[in-house]
């Protein structure tokens, strides 16, 4: 079956279902809110549709795994910076989860990698948003709406992704200096990660540049930074200026393993104790941030906070899925759509 037929079939199933549970490889099933029970499982089509290396774009079925995508791109000396933690994840699942990879300072967040999306709507239509070119302001940015929407706006069936040349070389180094200082010594580091004791830096580019930058930044060669593992896992998000402070607070707690992305504001947290993850969340919220549950922690809420701009989010959701059938439970939005003038009210009518 060719891809468009498979997409039409997805749209038909989604349109007819009462509750829809879009599933990829299952690697992000515990991210955010819980997947729905007793729902129709829908899987996106698989396969590379078109790839023109000279255009730096690739079109794939959303059910294609990132590993498969990478294999095709590497053969042409290119990559796509989706960078999920587990490369068996599907392209669609990675996009729907919205989780950016650790090379964000150099390649940009996940939302910058998606040029065009096609998705099945709640009422069974196939809708296309964005466009196939790297630059595009033709109408609204529907692709960014889908990134991180956890399947609650539509079921992704096909996407066009931005590609980039593979870096000429990749090198990891480590330093015991303060993480902010290490970062300031590098021009475009791919990753600056700090675990409270050491700062790991991933450099990419021309070999001579990487060597010069490593020397200038006082880095010793090291293996790649390893991200924390554990039964209960989360991702804290704070303003980049607060990430060291949050790291110090986490350091003082027991039973936590964590690595902070310096210059980004993400802290990856893992633990064998659900309570410890909850405590890390409290520390994060105390610094104006929030912690997303990524795995485990059955007793914790997926997001921990009321979603900001709840009324607006609920209106967006209702515009695409008025009955709430798409991935119910994965994004905790207000059940009913609040009226306008519901968020901040102004004083009297000003004189004109």
């Amino acid at each position: 079956m060719d891809l468009i037929r498979a997409e039409e079939e997805v749209a038909r199933v989604v349109g007819a279902a009462v509750r829809v549970d879009p599933v990829g490889a299952g690697t992000h099933r515990e991210v955010g809110g819980r997947p729905p029970q007793e729902a129709t499982v829908v899987r996106a089509p698989v396969g590379v549709v078109a790839y023109d290396a000279a255009d730096l774009t690739i079109t794939v079925g959303a059910g294609t795994t990132v590993a498969e995508l990478t294999e095709v791109l590497v053969s042409a000396g290119q990559e796509c910076a989706l960078d999920p933690r587990d490369p068996t994840a599907t392209v669609g699942g990675t996009i729907a989860s919205g989780l950016s990879g650790p090379r964000r300072p150099r390649v940009g967040p996940l939302r910058d990698q998606v040029l065009e999306v096609r998705f099945a709507t709640a009422d069974g239509r196939l809708v296309r948003g964005g466009g196939p070119t790297v630059k595009n302001v033709t109408g609204y940015d529907i692709p960014r709406l889908l990134v991180g929407s956890l399947g609650t706006i539509g079921v992704l069936t096909r996407v066009i992704l931005r590609c980039r040349p593979l870096p000429a070389s990749v090198w990891w180094g480590v330093s015991a200096d303060a993480p902010g200082a290490v970062r300031a010594r590098c021009l475009r580091p791919a990753t600056v990660a700090w675990d409270g004791a050491l700062t790991w830096v991933r450099l990419e580019g021309h070999r001579a540049d990487v060597e010069a930058e490593a020397t200038g930044a006082g880095l010793e060669p090291a293996g790649a930074c390893s991200w924390p593992v554990g039964e209960h896992r989360g991702r804290a998000s704070v303003a980049p200026g607060r990430v060291v402070d949050l790291g110090r607070a986490l350091e003082a707690m027991s039973g936590l393993r964590w690595v902070a992305e310096i210059g980004v504001g993400t802290v990856h947290v893992a633990t064998d104790s659900e309570a410890a993850l909850g405590a890390a969340r409290a520390e994060t919220e105390r610094r104006g941030g929030w912690l997303l549950r990524e795995a485990g922690a059955p007793g914790l809420d997926g997001f921990g906070i009321d979603l900001p701009n709840g009324a607006l989010l609920a209106r967006v959701k209702a515009a695409f899925d008025p009955t709430g059938k798409l991935a119910p439970g994965r994004l905790p939005l207000a059940k009913s759509v609040p009226p306008l003038h519901g968020e901040v009210t102004l004083g009297g009518v000003p004189a004109l």
Partner: protein, 467 residues
């Protein structure tokens, strides 16, 4: 809050703000000049309570009519909201008001070794708020991305006059990417009052090259060859023969007057990588038929080469008194086909066309030079423009890369999107603006909402629109 100093309705003011740098004209009921975010909210609130639409305007450098007041709206001019509020050097983030001029921000932070990356050609005059509205680009967006990749958070007045922060300094936001939806929405989802932008460290090494060719095909093959060789330059600009000559006559940048096309290539980063890329670009250029490869020896020569590119629109005045600048994007690999088609279309309409554009990302800017006093010329200019857009779409392209849709291309949206696609966009817009108050006549054609009836008029701007 909005007394005489901040709200004017005299005929002179209304006529001064009748349009942007494009060709559409309209008229506002009143023009407001807010100086604080609350003033913007108050102006929108006035529109809400008087059941009027409102339109936001920065410097008015837009070319698609996005800021043109249609239907006697409240026009809200953001140029007095022009403070750089905060610069965080360590986090490389600045909070600015929407009326800050693009180039003023980069100038203000130059001594910190930072700059704001998006650099539209109008950067000395255009506002960052306007850049956010159109998701503006510029030559240096090839490697560093357009406005959307540099905006972290936007404080906005929503169309119901409430205030909200979309996005944030935290790397991820729970829920939908409302910030991503807002950027590029051309004033149809509200008005920005504060914007947090990402700042970029100045690269230690920068090299600028000028390659000239005896055929456009060779220049285009060089563009593809550079990308295929794994080099993504900071900027990769092309100019065809007519514009190269016009620019050379105008500023004397040292461009070869007999070239069929020139490429301006900028490479930046660290020393060794830039040196290797200079080699690679030179090699690809020569292999593809470049007659000469000139590498700017110093900053003065670099600036001179760029001065030529940036003076392109000024140089047009030497050819004809009026011009119509188009903006469309095609896949890089289709550049030659589409340029040929653009040439043929304009020849058929007996129009002079010049091409100066962002070749690296396939962003074409065919520029038709003409004299508006010539009888019947507008019909030919418009017909050629429509035909060029159709050619771009047929080549797998899109309607706009950086100028936006506004009024100009609203009715061409259905060339690119089907009814269900437009319906989805209308739903997103309506979620932000259920009452249809924010810049209502722009971006989406009438009939975008499924079930919405009625014919699609050619334009709702009314009389005198195309003057």
């Amino acid at each position: 809050m909005l007394g005489h100093a901040r709200a004017r309705a005299e005929p002179l003011e209304l006529s001064l703000y009748a349009g942007d740098a494009g060709h559409e004209r309209g008229q506002a009921a009143v023009v407001c000049f807010p100086a604080r975010g609350e003033h913007v909210a108050a102006a929108v609130d006035v529109a809400v309570r008087h059941d009027r639409s409102f339109v936001a305007r920065g410097s008015g450098t837009g070319l698609a009519g996005g800021a043109t007041p249609v239907g006697r709206p409240v026009l809200i001019v953001t140029t007095r909201l022009n403070r750089i509020i905060e610069v965080d050097v360590d986090a490389r983030i600045a909070w600015v008001e929407p009326g800050v001029l693009n180039l003023d921000l980069s100038r203000a932070i130059r001594h910190l070794g930072l700059h704001y990356a998006p650099d539209p050609s109008s950067q000395a005059a255009c506002t960052i708020g306007g850049n956010v509205a159109t998701n503006a680009g510029g030559p240096h967006c090839l490697a560093s991305g357009v406005t959307a990749t540099h905006v972290l958070a936007v404080d906005v007045v929503l169309p119901d006059a409430t205030m909200a922060r979309l996005g944030g300094l935290e790397p991820d936001q729970p829920g939908y990417d409302l910030r991503g939806c807002f950027v590029g929405s051309e004033g149809t989802m509200g008005i920005a009052t504060r914007i947090a932008v990402r700042l970029t460290p100045n690269p230690p090494a920068v090299r600028t090259l000028l390659l000239d060719f005896s055929s456009i095909d060779d220049a285009a093959a060089t563009v593809s060859g550079i990308i295929a060789a794994g080099v993504v330059p900071a900027a990769l600009e092309m100019m065809d023969a007519p514009i190269t000559r016009a620019v050379e006559d105008f500023v004397g940048a040292g461009y070869p007057r007999d070239a069929a096309a020139v490429l301006l290539v900028e490479l930046d980063g660290l020393e060794a990588g830039v040196a290797a890329e200079v080699e690679e670009v030179s090699r690809v250029g020569r292999a593809s038929g470049a007659r000469t490869v000139r590498i700017a020896a110093d900053d003065a020569e670099r600036e001179l080469l760029w001065k030529g590119r940036k003076s392109a629109f000024g140089a047009i005045a030497r050819i004809a008194p009026d011009y119509y600048l188009h903006d469309a994007v095609v896949p890089r690999t289709r550049l030659v086909d589409v340029l040929r088609r653009v040439g043929a279309v304009c020849a058929e309409q007996r129009l002079t066309v010049l091409n100066v554009f962002h070749a690296g990302d396939g962003n074409l800017h065919p520029l038709i030079a003409f004299d508006a006093r010539e009888p019947g010329i507008w019909a030919r200019v418009r017909e050629a423009g429509d035909e060029i857009l159709r050619a771009c779409v047929e080549a797998g392209g899109v309607l706009s890369g950086e100028h936006g849709i506004g009024l100009e291309k609203r009715d061409a949206m259905s060339l690119v999107f089907g009814p269900d696609d437009l319906d989805a966009q209308a739903r997103l817009r309506d979620a932000f603006d259920p009452a249809g108050r924010a810049n209502p006549d722009k971006v989406l054609p009438r009939g975008s909402r499924c079930g919405e009836l009625g014919p699609v008029p050619p334009s709702s701007a009314g009389e005198g629109m195309w003057i």
